[in-house]
Structures are given as structure tokens and as C-alpha cells.
């Protein structure tokens, strides 16, 4: 019903190249999140899709219908693209009541009065703010304003809903509520959603797919799990995940069949079929790599678990925080973080047994910063290889 294809989108502000050859396909019903730090081009991409910005190069289609063709200087008007946008600032018209804000677009479309009434109330009901219909925006709290902004965007039943950092102005608790709300909205309406955020938790919790932006380019497009398990480069790995991933410098050699890694936390062999062979991997000589190790994949035991990947470590500090505990460990002079579920406490300098799961480690070529060995996708941590 609504498949959006962006091809070779280039956008310049003066000499500033803000979108570099963006290629992105959003399938019907997707909850696609554009994720990245500020200034990486994700909001510009959203504005290009909405029609508020005109890219100088590239094409865009919605269900095979051409929306943008920069070569022909063709840009469909925003209102004819069948989409709507929720702004970061909400952009509620301060001189109109909640009802009028939501009704505005319907009035423009010359909808009948009783139908407007019905449609507006339906979307206010969906967002559970029907009782505020006669209030002005400045008489509402931030969370209520947010709901009005979404109600306004969905009132016209758009095929595509664009959301630009909609939760960034809310406090932490409301944010969690609204995340649930948005997820429900996506399921109930089946609308395709494109969602811009710099918050990886939002991206991971709500999306069906994530496009990771870096300096005007898309560095990776994958499912949340895929992005989390195998970030494409060191920057992405560093950006995704909280607490952040452990990076451990190591040496490696690749003989064409297997990758042998020598690291302070142990030596490991990885088979060729686990590797990303289209990346630059020097053969038959030692080169620098970085191991990526998620803190929750480090298991700590006080007694020897008799596992082949056990190493001995020392506790540097432990931070129990109720539902989870962070433990800083030292092995061979390097520090790394482990995350344990529940309240666990260790003494300072206590000797512990640590089980690592090499199949679930990422290996990056230090020189290019790119992923060269995939981690195995697994839903639950546990003792295996």
C-alpha cells in the first residue's frame, strides 16, 4: 500500500553536502527509524520525504508513483504525498483550540462539517485527549501537546506518518508511556511510520527496521536486533547499546580459512563462514583488530564453571543498581565492563571466573574501523560455546 523508495538522494546547503547518496527502501507497514547523532542528516532526510526540503539530486517514489525526480526538477507538493508529520516542537497553532488544530487539514480538504467532527473526535479518542478539545495548546502539558500533535497528524489517515524526535521534549517517564502509545498506534493503524531519533533505546524498542546515519550517509540498515548484535563499524558499535560495548585491542592473522585472534582476554579462532569477507582483511600477516564485547555477554562465576572459555579476572569495582549490576573487571591489565541481571555484589579485588562467548563477539579491523566477523544472533545469554 505504501512502499517508499529513495534513490541516490543528494542534498546540499550551499557547499555543505548534508545528504550523500542516500538509498533507502521503506516497506509497507514498516516502523523505520532513522537513527544517528545530531547533525547526521536524519531530520533532513525526513524533511526531504515530507516535501519540506528539495534535494538537488535523486529520486523518490511512493508505490511506484514518482514523488521526487531531481533531474527533471519535479517535486510533488507536500500535501499531495499522502503523508503527515509530527514536529519535534509539535508546531501546534497557538491561536487555535485542540479541536481546530486537528480539524484544520480536514477543513482544507473541504470535508463535511459533521464528518470533520467525527474524524477529529476519533483521532482525539485514539490519543485519549478528547476531554481537552476546547483547550488552547498553552493550557496543556507537554505530554498532552504531544498527543494533540499526533492526533492532528493521524486525523487525515495518512498512508505515511513521519515523526521527528517526537519524544525529546518529554520527561523520562512520559517517554516510556508514549513509546508504548506509538507502538500501539503503529499496530492498530498499520500505517507506515518513519521515525527520527538520536535515542537508541527508542530506536531499538519501537522499530521494525533501523537506518543508521553517519555524517550524511546511511552506514547500516537492519532490524534492531541485527544492528545491536552486529554494528557495522566501531562508531556504530560505540553508539548502540547502554552500557556501551567493550572494545579490546588485539592482534589477528587471517590465512584465508580462519581468523586467529590473540587478545588479553584469550586467543580465539573464527571460521571463514562467520566472517564478512567483502571487507578489507589483510591475509597472511598480523594486523590490528578490535574485539567488541557486549557487557551482558560476560558471565561471572565465583566458582570454576568448567567451561572451555573461562578466564580468571579480578573485580575492580561493582555497581549494583537494583534490577541490574555493573561490574568492572581487570584481566591482564585491561578493564572491561560486565552487566549482570539482578542485585549482585563483589568485593573489590575479588578473584572471579569469567566466561566469554567468542561466537558472540564482534571483530573489527582497527585500520578501517569496519566489522569483519559477525556475532551470532541469540536471544538469551547462557552458557554455550
Amino acid at each position: 500500500m505504501s512502499r517508499i523508495v529513495l534513490e541516490h538522494i543528494d542534498k546540499f546547503y550551499g557547499d555543505n553536502h548534508v545528504l550523500k547518496d542516500i538509498n533507502l527502501t521503506i516497506e509497507d507497514g514498516d516502523f523505520m527509524t532513522l537513527l544517528g547523532p545530531s547533525g547526521c542528516g536524519k531530520t533532513t532526510t525526513l524533511r526531504v520525504i515530507s516535501g519540506l526540503e528539495k534535494p538537488q539530486g535523486g529520486k523518490m517514489t511512493m508505490d511506484e508513483r514518482t514523488i521526487i525526480d531531481a533531474d527533471e526538477a519535479f517535486y510533488e507538493e507536500p500535501s499531495k504525498r499522502g503523508l503527515n508529520l509530527v514536529f519535534q516542537s509539535y508546531a501546534l497553532w497557538p491561536h487555535m483550540t485542540v479541536f481546530d488544530n486537528v480539524a484544520f487539514g480536514l477543513k482544507i480538504k473541504k470535508m463535511k462539517k459533521d464528518e470533520i467532527e467525527k474524524t477529529v473526535m476519533r483521532s482525539l479518542d485514539t490519543m485519549r485527549i478528547a476531554e481537552y478539545r476546547d483547550r488552547y495548546p498553552n493550557e496543556l502539558s507537554g505530554g498532552q501537546q504531544q498527543r494533540v500533535a499526533i492526533a492532528r497528524a493521524i486525523a487525515s489517515s495518512p498512508k505515511l506518518l513521519l515523526l521527528d524526535e517526537p519524544l525529546s521534549n518529554l520527561d523520562a517517564r512520559l517517554r516510556i508511556d508514549m513509546r508504548a502509545e506509538l507502538k500501539r498506534l503503529h499496530k492498530e493503524t498499520g500505517t507506515t511510520i518513519i521515525y527520527v531519533t538520536h535515542d537508541q533505546v527508542e530506536a531499538l524498542t519501537m522499530s521494525t527496521r533501523i537506518a543508521l546515519f553517519k555524517e550524511g550517509e546511511i552506514s547500516q540498515i537492519d532490524t534492531p536486533l541485527g544492528i545491536y548484535t552486529n554494528p557495522i563499524d566501531l562508531q556504530a558499535a560505540d553508539f548502540i547499546g547502554n552500557p556501551r560495548i567493550n572494545f579490546i585491542d588485539a592482534k589477528a592473522t587471517f590465512d584465508g580459512e580462519k581468523l586467529t585472534v590473540k587478545s588479553p582476554i584469550g586467543d580465539y579462532d573464527f571460521a571463514k563462514d562467520k566472517m564478512k569477507l567483502d571487507e578489507e582483511i589483510p591475509q597472511d600477516r598480523e594486523f590490528d583488530v578490535v574485539l567488541g564485547l557486549r557487557p551482558e555477554l560476560v558471565d561471572i562465576f565465583t566458582e570454576d564453571p568448567q567451561h572451555k572459555n573461562t578466564i580468571l579476572a579480578e573485580v575492580y569495582a561493582s555497581q549494583p543498581a537494583g534490577s541490574e549490576s555493573l561490574v568492572t573487571l581487570t584481566v591482564n591489565g585491561i578493564d572491561f565492563l560486565a552487566k549482570q541481571i539482578g542485585l549482585v555484589e563483589y568485593d573489590m579485588n575479588q578473584k572471579v571466573y569469567v566466561v566469554l562467548h567468542p561466537s558472540r563477539m564482534n571483530v573489527y579491523n582497527k585500520e578501517t574501523g569496519r566489522l569483519i566477523k559477525f556475532a551470532k544472533v541469540k536471544h538469551h545469554a547462557g552458557i554455550d560455546d
Binding site: 527533471e72 517535486y75 500535501s79 503527515n84 508546531a91 497553532w93 484544520f104
Partner: protein, 614 residues
């Protein structure tokens, strides 16, 4: 297909008619572009072309000079006017002397009024001077009294026999020498009572924006009050201080009304007054040449200002969030400082107002305030009952000239400010939405030009442009018409109006419009349903501010005046020349009341005098 610039992208493209058609439709079909187009055209026609025509007029023989230039035909190229001005036996009298006078006045006014305004600003913002609330409501009132009104009140105190009627002092037998009554001394003092306001407004704004924590940090480091003032506070307000200095110089060099009232009687001419003589008489080309020099002088100082502090200006607003300020205790200096402020207000506000009001009731000016010398004649008298043969007319409220001038003033200020404010909003819209784009910048720059010009010089441009038919008669000669005065007032106030317009538009986030765009609202619908309803408040206060400013204007319209178009301010100026000070004073009072009331209303609606600075 990685490209690194728009140019490269364009190079890779093949020729396509569809593209050209789409590009054309994209530009023409967008009403915003149409507005931008008309804005640029309007500004070009109303500002750039008149300026060029005036320059041209200084190089082309006009009819009046046919006899002075042997063998010349009308329209011939000539350097006659420039030579007349800069290299003739008259040069000393008509150029060097007025220039010297203007510079002397400019420098002295600056030397006095900048420190004066800055000290008042410091006292009002940073010290614990008592009665701040009352003082701060009064401190800008002197500025609201038009400067030429203050010149009139100076005259009513110091006038001597040279003027035909006595002033307060001469009337009491105290002889007043000419140098005190008229000329540079009087002009400088009167201007200082006006232009202190620039420094006050700018320096107090800058002081308010400085976080007191910066000073407290100095205190913690062990600096004493003088050291803090010298090495922390002053450097931070320096940009504002310099701006005020440059603005005061440039404005005081260009002022006409004060210099004409206090200088012409003893043949003390400055550039502005000399220029007007030339434009009213002949050769006009010389007057135009002088106004070009005045514009260069004024814009030169303003550009110098931007060069000097342009890059450093930014830190004037550092710590804008620091709202809590610890006031500096004045201690023993409290009383002398209070006395200083009271004396200032007395001289600049109470005295002029008092003298003007009292003189308007006097039968013979200068004969004291005894009951036998007071009457309401100047206000409501009939000519057959005139107690003083100097009264050649009915009292003000029975005077048809006053009625006409009032009507003209109201017409001019209502229409003028309405048009100015509407254009100002549009210009503001174009400059804010076009921020960083070429058309936004060129709109901003063109709008700024009238600001660089002294009022008299600006009207000289319009005089040159419209004193004869243009475009082969399509635009008739507008000289002597109300339309010309209106046009000139409107364009001169463009800079202020568009500044208020753009600060207004800045508050209306672009996203509000984008949201309507997405909802399918056309450009005009967006303007009508979103922008105008939200811009209403700012529009009203912008309107009132230009209303006040146009109502009190004298410099700008003096050159264009013909008797049927007299406004109140020009009528008052005229009466004061005709030795009828009572009536002139009465008109002044009417105007001042008008301004104070207008300002009160503007204040209620969110406007500020400090925004109409000029």
C-alpha cells in the same frame, strides 16, 4: 555515482525540457517567490533608483543654471555643481564652514551625551539608587519630546531682541548674549538633552545582559569595585558604548530641526541647514551634492562602527540568562547621584515642558508669569480680541491652519504608519524566511539604506526624483503633493518597521507554517490563517511606534512642505520663525501629548520606545 557538489550534479545531467518547465513552474507557482520578487522591485524602485537619480542630478545641467553655465543645454554633463560646492570662491562659506560646524556639533554632542547616557544607564541598572521605578519611567520622556520642541523651549528661555520677542530671561531684564541664545552652544546642549537616549538605551541593554556572576567572580579574585568596573564591566559594555558613540555622531551631524531653529537666526549654518537652502532655492544640484556628502559621512561612521566592533559585538549578550543581579551599593554617593539625576530630569524634561506650557499662555512672551500677562488667547482666542498686536491670527483651536495641519498630521501618521507597518511585516517575513539566502540578504541591505541617511538628505533624494514628471509623464510631478510626503515618510521608516516585522516573524516558528503546508493549506491560506492571526499583536505595536515617529517628524518633511500640506510640527516651526512663539509652543504641547499618549498605548500593547530609535 558519488558527487561532491551541486555543480558536479548539474554537469552530469542531460538537457530536458521537462526540467526547465518544472523549474519555471516551481519558481513562478510559489507565491513566496512572487512576494520576494515584488519586495526586491519595490525596494529597488523606492530606494536605489532615487539615490542614483540624485547622484545623476549633481552631474547634469538643470534649467535654473542655464544662464550660469555658458553654452550649456539642459541635460548636459557638467561638473559645475561639484565645483561650485568644492572649488569655488563660495566653498569656504557654503561647504567648509558648515562642515566644520557640523563636525564641532557632532563631536561635542558625542563627548557630552555618551558619557551622560552611559552613567545614567549604569546608575539605573547596576546601583541601588532609590526611586528606580519612578525614575526609569521618566528617564526616556525627554527623548520622546521632539528635539525641535526642545529647541523651542530653549528659545523661550534665552531668546533676546534678535528674535523679535523676548524670552524668559530677557523679559526679566537679564541680558542674554547671542552666543548663549543661539548658535553652537545652544544647539549642542539641546541635542545632548536628546541624544543621551541612544547611549542610555544601548548601554543599559548591554548592562542588563551581563551576568552579575562575572563581576562576583572578579570580587572573589580580590578585585575592588574600581578594578571590577575597569577590567570586567567596561570591556563588556564597550561594544554597546562604541555603537552609541557612532550613532550619536552620525545622527547629530545630520539633524536639521534643532540647527535650523537655533542657528539660522544668526547665520550659523550646518551642512543640513545649508543644504536645505540650496534645494529650496538654487542651484539645487549643489544641495544634492551636499546631501551625498552627508550620506557618505553618516554611512561612513556607521560602517566604521560595524568594522570596529562587528566581530566583538557577540559577547555583549554573554550570560543573557543571568537574571538575578546584585546591585552595587552607592553608599555616600547616593545623594549626589540622586541630585544629578534630578537635575538632569529637571533640565531635560520639567523645564522645557514648563516653559512651553507657560509661554503658550503668555500675552507678551518674556513679560513674566503675572496674571495680567496670562491668557488663553494662543489656544482659543478670537483675532478681534487679540491682546497683543503680534497675534495676527485666531487662537489655535479657532485657527483653520491648525485644523488643517492636525488633519494632515493625522492623515500622514495614520496612513504612513499603516502602510509602513504592513510593508514592514512583509519585509520582515521575507528577511526571516530568507535568512542566509541571497534575497533575504539583499532585502535586508536595501532596507538598511534609509537608515544611513539623515532625514533631510533622504527627503532631498525624493525631491530630486519626483519634483518633475518621470517615465514620460506616467508618474506626474509629485512636488507639493501629500502623496510625496507620505511616500517619503513611509520609505524612511522602512528600516524600523521591517525590524519590528522581522522580530515579530521570528517568533512565528517556520514549523507552524510547514505543518499547515503539510495539511494542504495554500500559501495565502497559510498567511491568512496562521501568520496574520499570530502576527497581529506585533503588528499593532509596530504600527503605533512608526505612528509616533511619523507624527513628530520634522527633519524628513521640511524640504517637501508646501502650505497646503503643513503638518503640526512644520506649522509650529513656521510660527516660531514668524515671532509667534506662543502658538508654536501650543502646537508643541499638542504634539507632545499626542506622543506620550501614543507611547502609553504602544507600551500597553508590548511596544518599546527603544525600538523606534532614530
Amino acid at each position: 555515482m558519488a558527487v561532491s557538489s551541486v555543480k558536479e550534479l548539474k554537469k552530469n545531467r542531460h538537457f530536458s525540457w521537462t526540467r526547465i518547465k518544472n523549474q519555471f513552474l516551481g519558481i513562478v507557482g510559489n507565491p513566496f517567490n512572487v512576494i520576494v520578487f515584488f519586495t526586491l522591485i519595490i525596494l529597488f524602485v523606492l530606494i536605489i533608483i532615487p539615490l542614483l537619480i540624485m547622484v545623476q542630478n549633481t552631474f547634469v545641467v538643470a534649467k535654473a543654471e542655464l544662464r550660469s553655465i555658458p553654452g550649456a543645454k539642459i541635460g548636459d554633463y557638467t561638473l559645475y555643481y561639484w565645483k561650485y560646492l568644492l572649488a569655488s570662491p563660495l566653498t569656504k562659506t557654503i561647504f567648509w564652514e558648515p562642515l566644520l560646524h557640523s563636525l564641532i556639533i557632532g563631536i561635542f554632542v558625542t563627548l557630552i551625551s555618551v558619557p551622560l547616557g552611559s552613567i545614567i544607564a549604569w546608575l539605573m541598572v547596576r546601583t541601588d539608587i532609590p526611586g528606580k521605578k519612578i525614575l526609569s519611567s521618566m528617564i526616556l520622556i525627554p527623548y520622546m519630546i521632539p528635539s525641535w520642541c526642545k529647541a523651542l523651549s530653549w528659545l523661550s528661555v534665552f531668546r533676546n531682541e534678535l528674535s523679535g520677542s523676548y524670552g524668559l530671561l530677557t523679559g526679566h531684564g537679564i541680558p542674554v548674549p547671542d552666543w548663549l541664545a543661539y548658535g553652537p552652544f545652544a544647539i549642542i546642549i539641546v541635542m545632548c538633552m536628546h541624544y543621551y537616549a541612544f547611549s542610555y538605551i544601548m548601554v543599559s541593554g548591554s548592562l542588563r545582559s551581563i551576568n552579575s556572576e562575572l563581576e562576583e567572580m572578579g570580587e572573589i579574585q580580590g578585585a575592588n569595585k574600581v578594578q571590577i568596573l575597569k577590567s570586567i564591566t567596561l570591556p563588556l559594555v564597550l561594544p554597546a558604548f562604541l555603537s552609541a558613540t557612532i550613532m550619536t555622531i552620525s545622527k547629530s551631524i545630520g539633524t536639521y530641526g534643532v540647527a535650523a531653529n537655533l542657528g539660522n537666526r544668526i547665520d550659523y549654518y550646518v551642512l543640513a541647514t545649508r543644504m536645505k537652502e540650496f534645494i529650496n532655492d538654487s542651484p539645487k544640484g549643489v544641495g544634492y551634492a551636499m546631501s551625498i556628502l552627508m550620506i557618505l559621512l553618516a554611512s561612513g561612521t556607521i560602517f566604521a562602527n560595524q568594522k570596529l566592533i562587528g566581530t566583538r559585538k557577540s559577547y555583549a549578550t554573554i550570560g543573557g540568562k543571568g537574571t538575578r543581579r546584585n546591585l552595587i551599593p552607592l553608599g555616600k554617593a547616593k545623594v549626589p547621584m540622586m541630585v544629578f539625576l534630578i537635575i538632569f530630569l529637571f533640565i531635560s524634561m520639567f523645564l522645557p515642558l514648563f516653559v512651553l506650557v507657560m509661554e503658550s499662555f503668555q500675552i507678551v512672551p518674556g513679560k513674566g508669569y503675572g496674571l495680567n500677562n496670562l491668557s488663553l488667547y494662543a489656544w482659543i482666542g478670537k483675532i478681534e480680541n487679540a491682546p497683543n498686536p503680534a497675534f495676527a491670527q485666531n487662537g489655535l483651536f479657532r485657527n483653520s491652519e491648525f485644523g488643517r495641519a492636525t488633519w494632515n498630521t493625522i492623515k500622514l501618521s495614520v496612513l504612513g504608519s499603516l502602510i509602513t507597518a504592513i510593508f514592514g511585516q512583509f519585509f520582515g517575513y521575507v528577511t526571516t524566511r530568507g535568512r542566509g539566502k541571497w534575497y533575504g540578504k539583499s532585502t535586508e541591505q536595501m532596507i538598511f539604506i534609509p537608515y544611513l541617511m539623515p532625514g533631510v538628505a533622504f527627503s532631498a533624494i525624493y525631491f530630486a526624483m519626483f519634483s518633475r514628471p518621470r517615465l514620460g509623464g506616467l508618474i506626474p510631478s509629485l512636488y507639493g503633493t501629500f502623496a510625496l510626503i507620505l511616500l517619503c515618510s513611509v520609505v524612511k521608516h522602512f528600516p524600523f518597521a521591517s525590524r519590528s516585522g522581522s522580530s515579530n516573524m521570528m517568533q512565528i516558528s517556520v514549523e507552524l507554517e510547514e505543518a499547515a503546508d503539510l495539511a494542504g493549506a495554500s500559501f495565502w491560506k497559510r498567511i491568512g490563517k496562521i501568520v496574520i492571526p499570530l502576527a497581529k499583536g506585533g503588528f499593532v505595536s509596530g504600527f503605533l511606534l512608526s505612528f509616533i515617529s511619523i507624527a513628530k517628524e520634522l527633519d524628513l518633511i521640511a524640504l517637501l512642505m508646501t502650505p497646503s500640506n503643513y503638518t503640526l510640527s512644520f506649522l509650529s516651526f513656521d510660527y516660531s520663525k514668524e515671532a509667534m512663539p506662543q502658538v508654536a509652543d501650543a502646537i508643541c504641547i499638542v504634539i507632545i501629548l499626542f506622543i506620550l499618549i501614543g507611547n502609553k498605548i504602544a507600551g500597553k500593547l508590548g511596544g518599546e520606545v527603544s525600538k523606534s530609535m532614530g
